[in-house]
């Protein structure tokens, strides 16, 4: 904590990652449309990527492992967004809604 600048501190980035995670959890639990839930998922993944890069910067600055993992996270997020959005559009064509609470046919 003796650093003069705020951005030279590991805890700041960890707290930002936690903040993103909590925003994502709040969004997933609270929003009702599926697309908003997907956006919240993106928030959670970005929090994880931020943590990876922060640990790579401060704890093990020898190799680019955290950056590589963050790149993988980005690729997985892109693939997941494509699949989820196509499923959402299918659901919208079938049920004419994008709200998660109105889809009760699969409950049985």
């Amino acid at each position: 904590m003796t650093e003069a600048f705020l951005y030279n501190n590991l805890n700041i980035y960890l707290f930002l990652g936690i903040f993103l995670l909590c925003c994502g959890i709040l969004g997933i639990l609270y929003r009702r449309t599926l697309i908003a839930m997907l956006i919240s998922m993106e928030l959670i993944m970005n929090g994880a990527g931020l943590n990876f890069v922060a640990f790579n910067r401060f704890v093990s600055p020898e190799g680019p492992d955290g950056m590589v993992f963050t790149l993988f996270i980005m690729g997985l997020a892109a693939a997941e967004a494509a699949i989820a959005l196509s499923i959402i559009i299918l659901i919208f064509r079938k049920y004419r809604t994008i709200e998660s609470t109105e889809m009760e046919e699969m409950k049985d």
């Binding site: 951005y7 970005n46 680019p64």
Partner: protein, 152 residues
């Protein structure tokens, strides 16, 4: 942070998407602070350029134009979600405060060359695997779209 909050709390989906864009730019700036300008560039390219455009297309296709979706849950749900997120926040933050991370020493100067070398040297198999995942997801999305059109 304000972008993340507006992402979660804004009423409309379009505003949520714009909040996501703001958040992505903020995280890209943090990557620049973390000496990772390549990651910042990739962040802007992938998230702002690809995923947000994808979400925008989905919003416009499944658009809430003729039927405004009811966005908000009940008050009890709001309270429950806020409690859950705050609980996880304080749990993880107490964990962070308890553990003192051993700060590594040495200058942190990694270039894009190092990242590429690590990608094709140590992480060659996950790299190929993730490209396979992306190809499968693209094919899956196309097949989903085609079959739904055939049903109609």
């Amino acid at each position: 942070m304000a972008g993340a909050l507006s992402t979660v709390l804004s009423g409309s989906l379009i505003y949520a998407m714009l909040g996501l864009v703001a958040t992505m730019f903020g995280i890209a700036g943090l990557y620049v602070y973390l000496n990772a300008p390549f990651l910042a560039m990739m962040q802007i390219l992938i998230y702002v350029g690809a995923i947000t455009i994808l979400i925008a297309f989905a919003i416009m296709l499944a658009g809430p134009f003729y039927k405004k979706p009811k966005e908000w849950g009940t008050v009890g749900k709001l309270i429950a979600s806020i409690v859950v997120s705050l609980f996880s926040f304080f749990m993880f933050s107490s964990f962070i405060m308890k553990v003192s991370w051993s700060e590594g020493k040495g200058a942190f100067s990694l270039t894009t060359k190092d990242i590429g070398r690590a990608l094709f040297d140590r992480y060659a198999f996950p790299f190929e695997l993730i490209s396979l995942v992306i190809v499968v997801s693209i094919v899956g999305a196309i097949m989903l779209a085609m079959f739904s059109r055939g049903e109609k």
